[in-house]
Amino acid sequence: MSRSVKKGPYIDQKLLKKVLKQKDAKGGEPIRTWARSCTIVPEFISHTFMIHNGKGFQRLFVTDDMVGHKLGEFAPTRVFKSHGGVKKKGAPRG
């Protein structure tokens, strides 16, 4: 079930504060965050984040297409080890 519209999108307030601070300062280090469930809002565009995936951090540069998604969608928590056959092929792509 999707989130009630009344509440508005979930935004991690501390993270938003950090982003706005960086915006004033014009650039800076990528922001490390564990707030995977935080919705990407327009303020985040063209900022770089390091999103925790349970083990390490995944770098993400936010573009305007990503607005409305959650940060966690861009840092997979599982690794897919492909089944190695006799012929070794690269991971399926495209």
Binding site: T63, D65, H69, E73, F74, P92
Partner: protein, 127 residues
């Protein structure tokens, strides 16, 4: 055979059913359209008035996207997910279920026919 909204040619069925032959229109949407236009659901498609037909066509085109347009929208949405590198896009790319279903068993619609793995223990042997 009457034509509605461009290329679609529904048969001589009741108009509620005939409309569902259009891609993007299901039973409930079809009912809603006819109700909004005050057309009886039970009339056969061939018995509809010329102006009734055109009013349905115009109404659909104005309010909903159907057929080719809808299909294009869908593929665009999917390719958007892929290009931004989101989790859902990845699932589309790998041909796995996108909405969190289990993949230990089932998920055959997305994964295609079963590929038998040599040397894998069957359930019988384990039990």
């Amino acid at each position: 055979m009457p034509r509605i909204a461009g290329t679609d040619i529904p048969a001589d069925k009741r108009i509620v059913v005939a409309l569902t032959y259009i891609y993007g229109i299901g039973r409930s949407l079809s009912q809603k359209i006819l109700k909004d236009l005050n057309i009886d659901e039970g009339i056969r498609a061939k018995d509809l008035h010329e102006d009734q037909l055109s009013s349905v066509g115009v109404y659909i085109e104005r309010n909903f996207s159907i057929e080719g347009h809808l299909r294009r929208q869908e593929t665009q949405n999917i390719s958007r997910l892929k290009s931004i590198g989101s989790y859902r896009g990845m699932r589309h790319r790998f041909g796995l279920p996108v909405r969190g279903q289990r993949t230990k068993t089932n998920a055959r619609t997305r994964k295609g026919r079963k590929k038998t793995v040599a040397g894998k223990k069957s359930v019988k042997e384990l039990g």
